[in-house]
């Protein structure tokens, strides 16, 4: 390694803008365009990266994955779990100079709960009302206890934007975002970059860099090249194949940590062949997760057999450890399922090269047991729609993950839930998960999830395969970085030598 | 009269897909100062190739042998640069198709001027003056206007006048006119031939007039060579040609043309067709079509014989003449 050192000495294209203006600029490479600067309507992971610079949330996640107050000073919950009282930080101002206060919080909640274009309604559906107690206290009344609530507030639903800006720009707010975060909005060129500049009056410590640029690089190799050449300081996602390059470069470091999400296969429980539990099991058991992790990710992913990752409250190492495929067992399952000579099904995947490889590997693995997989690529939007309509045998789609266990499982497996594309319907499972959702005691909650996970594994309703890693690539000149399990880069503390 | 052009044993070959073909094969003739030499023959007999060989303007797959002596020097020995000094200056050409022989994108005036500037060492203004004068000389009405017009604005006859003006513009000693009126209507042809005759009388240039129309030959030429399949088969002055043609081909040619002022029930014909360049007969090239062919005709090619002022390539006259 280290041979690539010439890159950083190549002044020609190394962060050329910085010396020219004497500004400290951090350039962050994103895999895709962040579509919306308005958390109210956002649905993209890439938005969330930018929000970390632009906005603050009521709560945040710390490095251990614990929920900690951010714009909230402190909070209280009534024992029935139905009333939350939040004390807010004082002296915080939005970028437009207006005050952050209880009214603003109420405004944001209401906008998220009732706004016509709000994509936050689902997350906040258990909130009944929000009332201002005093200028820095709000009270939130829940319809029923909802354990993941605070965790929800560590994300987009917890972001407080400037009510004034919203009123001023209306529909166009997403192009004129105003938050309380460490950086203020300068411009966005769709598909290319978002530029933010230092918030001189940041409430939470001095911001050390003058400017943050989020640049879109759809091509992974190019992104890594730019990291090496110094054009980028941080990249959100290092392609697995490029990891050796990053690691081999003395100026760079790789931050590889397990993320919160999972990837797996929806098996359509509502129609043949996967209305047959044994056939589902056969497929589930035939997937060699270790091999997938090794071959496709070079070890930079974790085998999965549940929806929960390390750091999650519901994580159970034993349950999550996949069982190596056993030919006899699978044969048996096939026989039980009435297909002793094997069977075939169609698996929908997305069009990305990585996904194609995954498909090819799965195909190869299942073939040994006479399970013939026909692959069909669908473009992402179509894939989602196909999943929604339930017109498939099997479909590969995972989840980027949230901290609270409920947000990783409820929608996927509860009868009729939003993302339950596999049409899983196990009354007992539904019961367990709904119960866990209202359970505020962590230990009891975990026990419920363990039971649910076991049940789900036995039913093989959804074939979990692996937990993806967060693979940040970073120039060693960047300091002040701390990793938070949601994989989002907090820029407030960053500096550059 | 002095001889200005003397062509001896001219041989032109082309590299083609079916091998090397000899298209002009041992052609001899000469042109004297102030005379008009007619070159007649059917399509494909090598008339144009002969003229292009003289100008050294053959396409890249062609090569020329023999001597072409112009004003005493062998044209084939000149460097390309020297040759450029000859073209347009001492020998000028007029081509068959007035439609396509002018550059459609340049004005008529510019195209004449270009030749003048190239050879006459004059200023641009003088060149323009000369160009206009030439246009007037070829009988163009509105010469000043025509100077600035593009070829497509002119009719065929006018374009041919422009070509003539261009050819005459540097006072060449020889003008090679390759079927200058074939593409024109008879009434226009009459105008152009008239013009050429006039100009020749005024300037005394020699003209090599290529044509397949015996009528044109009769009207224009002093002497004539008749070509067949790349060879000269007969050479004579114009009167003799029409009064007592010698070569069976010439005779056949003359009798196969219907005439306006005489009535014939049947035309004479020459059976068969011209041989292809790569399938030339061994003996006399005309023998397969000749009604008077003798055994020797099919075996040995005849030489061009001298018969008191008339030349003829035919075994029939072997005893009567001497070799040219």
């Amino acid at each position: 390694g280290g041979g690539g050192g010439s890159a950083s000495t190549d002044g020609g294209n190394t962060a050329a803008p910085a010396p020219a203006t004497g500004k400290k600029v951090i350039n962050i490479g994103l895999k895709a365009d962040p579509p919306s600067m308005d958390p109210n309507s956002s649905t993209s992971l890439y938005d969330r990266q930018v929000y970390a610079s632009l906005y603050d949330k009521l709560f945040d996640i710390d490095t251990d994955g614990k929920v900690v107050p951010m714009l909230a000073e402190s909070y209280e919950v009534t024992p029935d779990g139905k009333t939350y009282t939040l004390k807010l930080k004082q002296g915080v101002k939005f970028h437009d100079g207006t005050d952050f206060d209880a009214e603003a919080v109420k405004f944001n909640f209401e906008r998220n709960m009732t706004g016509e274009k709000s994509r936050r309604k689902g997350e906040l559906k258990f909130v009944d009302s929000v009332s201002v107690v005093d200028a820095h206290t709000v009270k939130i009344q829940m319809k029923e206890p909802f354990a993941p609530f605070l965790s929800v507030l560590t994300d987009r639903s917890g972001i407080i934007v400037s009510p004034k800006a919203v009123q001023e720009h209306g529909e166009q707010y997403l192009n004129h975002p105003v938050g309380t975060g460490p950086f203020t909005f300068v411009e966005q060129v769709k598909g290319d970059h978002v530029t933010l500049k230092k918030n001189e009056n940041y409430w939470n410590g001095t911001v050390k860099v003058d400017e943050v640029n989020y640049k879109v690089f759809t091509n992974g190799t190019a992104k890594v090249q730019n990291l090496r050449s110094g054009m980028l300081d941080i990249i959100d996602d290092t392609p697995v194949k490029e990891i050796p390059v990053v690691k081999g470069d003395g100026n760079l470091q790789l931050i590889a940590e397990s993320g919160l999400g999972f990837q797996g296969i929806y098996l359509n429980n509502s129609r043949a062949p996967f209305d047959n539990k044994f056939l589902r099991q056969a497929v589930d058991r035939a997937i060699d997760r270790e091999a997938i992790v090794k071959v496709l990710f070079n070890g930079y992913a974790a085998p999965a057999h549940t929806a929960f990752t390390k750091g999650s409250l519901a994580y159970n190492e034993q349950l999550n450890t996949p069982i190596a495929p056993n030919a006899d067992e699978i044969k048996n399952l096939l026989a039980q399922g009435g297909k002793p000579d094997g069977f075939g099904f169609k698996l929908y995947i997305t069009t990305s090269p990585e996904n194609e490889q995954l498909g090819a590997v799965l195909q190869n693995m299942l073939k040994q047991y006479n399970i013939n997989v026909t692959l069909e690529k669908l473009e992402y939007g179509q894939l989602i729609e196909t999943g929604d309509k339930g017109e498939f045998d099997a479909l590969q789609l995972g989840w980027s993950g949230r901290l609270d266990p409920d947000l990783n499982i409820h929608d996927w497996v509860v009868t009729g839930a939003n993302n339950n594309n596999g049409r899983i319907s196990i009354p007992q499972l539904d019961e367990l998960i709904l119960k866990a959702r209202g359970e505020l005691d962590e230990a009891k909650r975990k026990a419920l999830y363990d039971e649910a996970a076991k049940l789900l594994q036995d039913e093989a309703g959804y074939a979990y395969m692996y937990h993806q890693y967060v693979l940040l690539g970073m120039n060693k000149k960047v300091t002040g970085f701390t990793f938070v399990p949601d994989g989002i880069v907090r820029t407030a503390t960053l500096d550059k030598q | 009269m002095t001889t200005i052009l003397e062509v001896e044993q001219l041989r032109t070959r082309f590299r083609t897909d079916s091998g090397v073909v000899s298209v002009v094969d041992g052609v001899d003739f000469s042109i004297r100062a102030g005379e008009t030499l007619g070159v007649v023959g059917e399509s494909g007999c090598g008339k144009s190739v002969t003229s292009l060989s003289i100008m050294r303007l053959l396409p890249p797959n062609g090569s020329t042998g023999g001597t072409i002596r112009f004003n005493g020097k062998n044209v084939l020995d000149l460097s390309e640069k020297e040759m450029q000094g000859v073209r347009g200056n001492e020998i000028a050409m007029i081509f068959q198709e007035p439609m396509t022989s002018l550059n459609p994108l340049h004005t008529v005036g510019k195209q004449i001027e270009e030749a003048v500037m190239l050879h006459m060492n004059v200023s641009k203004a003088q060149a323009k003056e000369r160009a206009i004068a030439m246009l007037k000389a070829v009988g163009m009405p509105r010469a000043e206007e025509i100077y600035g017009e593009f070829p497509h604005q002119l009719s065929g006859g006018m374009r041919q006048r422009v070509m003539i003006a261009m050819a005459m513009s540097c006072d060449p000693k020889l003008i090679i006119a390759d079927e200058p009126t074939t593409a024109l209507d008879v009434t226009i042809q009459a105008q152009i031939l008239d013009l050429m005759r006039d100009l020749k009388e005024k300037t005394g240039t020699s003209i090599m007039l290529i044509t397949h129309d015996l009528g044109v030959v009769a009207e224009m030429c002093d002497r004539v060579i008749v070509m067949y399949a790349g060879q000269v088969v007969e050479e004579t002055d114009v009167d003799t040609l029409f009064e007592s043609p010698k070569h069976p081909y010439t005779i056949g040619l003359m009798n196969s043309i219907p005439e306006l002022d005489e009535e014939r029930e049947y035309l004479e014909t020459i059976p068969g067709a011209v041989p292809l360049p790569h399938q030339m007969p061994v003996g006399c090239r005309f023998a397969p079509r000749c009604t008077q062919a003798m055994p020797i005709c099919h075996e040995k090619p005849p030489e061009l014989l001298q018969l008191n002022g008339q030349k003829c390539r035919c075994w029939l006259y072997e005893d009567k003449g001497e070799e040219a």
Binding site: T221, V224, K377 | -
Partner: protein, 276 residues
Amino acid sequence: MKTVRKFLRNGLGVIGAVIILGLIIVAIFAPQIAPFDPNAQDYNKILIAPDGEHYFGTDDLGRDIFSRVVYGARISIEAALISVGIAMLIGVPIGLLSGYYRGFWDEWVVMRSVDAMQAFPFLILALAISAVLGSGFGNAMLAIGIGFAPAFVRITRGQVLSLRNMEYIHAARSVGVKDARIIFRHILPNALNPIVIQATLAMASGIIAEASLSYLGLGVQPPTPSWGSMLNQAQTLMSVAPYATFYPGIAIFLVVLGFNLLGDGLQQVLDPRARK
């Protein structure tokens, strides 16, 4: 026969024909030529650089790139033939009828549609069509075929327009031959040369287009080894395994070159304009 001999003398065209012949042979005998099953994954042999066993190395799933390239020839040939076949099937009849009958339909419907279709950037058009049809080899072919069709309409129509004024067409009409027979017996055979040339050249573009669509993720279904999809996958390996990008690309290059050379050679021999 003369044409054949003439073509044989056209060196570059012959090279093109030889390349394509070679490709066809490789495609037919792929199972005999390829040392490995193109889809067999060997996780112990991931990303092995080219050596004596794996001539072109292995890819990130441990598949033998050489074998995949060999099998890819099949897809390429099919891509070339099918896409151009579709384009001709659509374009040639429309061009024939439109050019022969002229009039309102020709001027305002057919030609304006052709104009409109050609106003789309080709790849975008193919992309949109294949997005409509869904991914997959057949649909990609249909998309490319539809995308190429306007070119065939144009070239056929152009031919018809020049041929319909030929004396032998007038002759046929004056003899009393019916329109359909004139179109198919007299015009079509004589319009064929430029169409064949265009078809050959279009095959070259067809292969590139298939590769481009595959590159954008809309090509054949995995694990079918198509050169385009191999490149698509190999692009993630650019810095670790450049050879994985190299060989499929070279294969595409060679075949496209083959078709281009052949098309060029045919043009020299068949196109009267270039014949001079």
